[in-house]
Subunit: 140 residues, 2 copies
């Protein structure tokens, strides 16, 4: 299937958006929608990234996660250079269809983050009694 | 602790941002950061919401999730009216500190979504062979 063959719908009202079967993804003013990638095997949140409509079409057409890189301002086929392809197991949308969850199988070396870790959320925020914050590494 | 007592840091370069212990949350042009709320008991993604700096301070100071409602344009103490308070178990930030994961215990009736469900991602996106999309309910 080509990306252009993918057809989205339109939600005519709040009820259709929230309780309907029509997929009407809502992109923000910059044309982007946030996407939470979850490791299908562990259920762990791996990363938060963004898709524009073209990236969403590519993801649905190919079964591999494509994002939109805001820093490089271009479509980003995750793993095209690193080998860390994300094979899509399922995609879900939220109540008002302005966010997506992708359940994926991470291929290649199974990692995800450009820092060399399996996921991006490797530091926990801690707060001292005096209000100072610091980050504590939960994955080295 | 009062919200004003919470102190964030500043990351002077990419290395400090990604590999440092300084919490330097990066808000977008609208002053917001996306937050993924995860049910601490099940690991399930419950919702994606947003915090501004004040909401983040309130969350860290009180241990209860506070978001910023983009539709109402105001701080939103989750559960203040519904009883669905989210007690924060932990907060993590990602590599470039522009997204957060909150692990929470959902109080009240244990639900999360304004539609009456335990989480917001209750519909899966499905694609037919001809490219048509539809949503399939995974939670009624």
């Amino acid at each position: 299937m080509t990306p252009d063959a993918i057809r989205f719908g339109a939600a005519t009202d709040k009820k259709a958006l929230e309780e309907g079967a029509v997929f009407a993804p809502r992109f923000d003013a910059a044309g982007l929608i946030p996407v939470i990638a979850v490791d299908d095997a562990t259920g762990e949140v791996m990363m938060l990234a963004w898709m524009n409509e073209a990236a969403l079409r590519l993801t649905l057409a190919t079964g591999e996660a494509h994002y939109f890189s805001r820093s490089r301002n271009e479509i980003w086929h995750k793993g095209a250079t690193s080998g860390q392809i994300q094979r899509v197991v399922s995609m879900a949308t939220d109540c008002d269809q302005d966010a997506l969850v992708l359940r994926v199988v991470p291929l290649g070396d199974g990692k995800c983050c450009h820092t060399g870790r399996t996921h991006c959320f490797y530091r926990r925020v801690e707060v001292s009694a005096d209000g100072a914050t610091r980050l504590n590494f939960i994955q080295k």
